[in-house]
């Protein structure tokens, strides 16, 4: 009898919190991930290009940026942006603050992936591009980056999936993403085990879907290497 009641309560909680959490996931976790990742990729590309530009000042700035961001915890960075900056008069609302924080982080980590991918393309490809009269930007855009993209998809997908999970840190700066919702429901139901497991489960669904998407993308990009 007692066990049945307990069971009912568990089912109740799961049913009642699954959709609010999924909704928070779709409304915040997913957009937060997508926006931060794509802005972060742009920043990463610029950083990678600065690193390989051969211009000492740009290279130094890029190195410094990557060094600082990789060497400090993401949580600390988010706290600085959201709780720290207001004391010098810069107040940013939770969601933009989270986007800024994640973008900066993604930019630093992925710049190394993109740099390595660009450097992995043989010098002969640059020379062939130049030999048909291309400029540096043309060669980069038409010849090098398409090939580098193929090389960088698996490691970038890795970092993308990491980001899906890292967005849970946004809960600490009051963004009502999925994990924050789980915390809120926990506060009223006192069922941390169930709710945090449920949150983990939803993250697992998100990353599984994304991994599959990555597989599809790799297949598409690989069409020219299979003879």
């Amino acid at each position: 009898m007692f066990a049945d009641e307990r069971m009912d309560r568990i089912v109740d909680i799961i049913v009642n919190s699954f959709f609010p959490m999924l909704k928070a996931g779709v409304a915040f976790t997913v957009p937060l991930t997508l926006v931060s990742f794509f802005l972060g990729l742009l920043l990463a590309l610029l950083t990678a290009l600065a690193r390989i530009s051969g211009i000492k000042l740009l290279d130094a700035i890029a190195r410094f940026y990557v060094w600082v961001v990789r060497g400090t915890p993401l949580l600390v960075q988010l706290f600085i942006i959201f709780y720290g900056l207001p004391s010098i008069g810069i107040t940013i609302s939770p969601l933009p603050a989270a986007i800024i924080g994640f973008t900066i982080s993604v930019g630093a980590y992925n710049s190394e992936i993109i740099r390595a991918a660009i450097l992995s393309i043989s010098k002969g490809q640059w020379e062939a591009a130049y030999s048909i009269g291309m400029s540096y930007p043309q060669a980069l855009k038409r010849i090098i980056l398409p090939q580098a993209t193929r090389v960088s998809v698996p490691p970038l997908a890795n970092s993308f999936i990491s980001l899906v999970k890292d967005t849970s840190l946004a809960a600490t700066i009051t963004v009502t993403e999925m994990f924050r919702v789980a915390q809120q429901i926990t506060a009223t139901t006192y069922e941390p085990l169930i709710l945090y497991c449920l949150a983990g489960f939803i993250y697992l669904i998100f990353s599984t879907v994304l991994s599959n998407a990555q597989g599809q993308m790799e297949k598409r990009l690989d069409r020219y290497v299979t003879g």
Partner: protein, 247 residues
């Protein structure tokens, strides 16, 4: 016509080219031969500025460039100059993410900014010329070395260069595939394309070249008709080199 005067190239402390003077007449095929490390590939790469000469002048078509120590040539000038040349690489260097046809069209569409349909027609003609019409939609990975190199030639031809530069175009090929590439090159030579060919194929040089240039240790030891070089050379070093190839 191409005119090279007192061309020097230094890599760090090593001087690879030590004052090259060379004239190449329009419509001629010039073969550059010499031992490895003699500077022949570097000379070729200086002709389209993949290497920037340390000193000297190169006159080609509309442009004459004067190189001086530590003075760089503006980028747009380099590109304009280079656009008068086409290059065929030892390792083909086709763009692997594009089909044979797209490889040939690329320069027309994105450098010359020509109409896509017209570019496609022209690219198909060139592929036919090198005997690869039926491979137009294949990716480089689906082509043999000889086929890839012929696409490479078509790609270079597409830009209608004043001169075609060949950097050991058959050195990476299986022996049975060398012939098909040389055949295409011979046809181009006959049609009056100006070509500079760095090669180890002495038979090609003998048959197709108007002029053979023998380079050793960064200087031109000797130049002349194939007959003069291969049969009547008076130079010890040329003789030694040729004998080594035959033994």
């Amino acid at each position: 016509m191409i005119e090279i005067k007192n061309l020097h190239k230094q890599f760090g402390q090593t001087e690879v080219l030590k004052g090259i003077d060379l004239k190449i007449e329009e419509g001629n095929t010039v073969c550059i031969i010499g031992p490895s490390g003699s500077g022949k590939t570097t000379l070729l790469r200086c002709l389209n500025l993949l290497e920037t000469p340390t000193k000297g002048t190169i006159k080609l078509g509309k442009f004459s460039l004067d190189f001086q120590d530590k003075k760089s040539v503006p980028k747009d000038k380099v590109i304009k100059f280079r656009q008068q040349t086409g290059m065929v690489f030892q390792g083909y260097n086709l763009f692997p993410h594009m089909t044979a046809l797209e490889n040939v069209m690329e320069g027309l569409v994105y450098v010359r900014k020509q109409d896509k349909e017209a570019s496609r027609t022209k690219a198909l003609q060139l592929l036919e010329k090198v005997g690869l019409s039926d491979r137009a939609n294949h990716y480089p990975s689906q082509l043999s070395g000889g086929q890839q190199q012929r696409v490479g030639i078509a790609r270079a031809m597409a830009m209608e260069p004043e001169v075609l530069l060949f950097d050991e175009p058959t050195s990476a090929l299986d022996p049975e595939l060398v012939g098909e590439v040389l055949k295409v090159m011979k046809e181009l030579a006959k049609e009056g394309m100006t070509m500079v060919v760095v090669t180890h194929e002495m038979n090609f040089a003998r048959e197709a070249a108007d002029k053979v240039v023998f380079i050793d240790k960064g200087v031109i030891v000797e130049e002349g008709t194939p007959q003069q070089i291969f049969e009547h050379t008076g130079h010890e070093r040329t003789l030694q080199f040729l004998n080594k190839l035959c033994s």
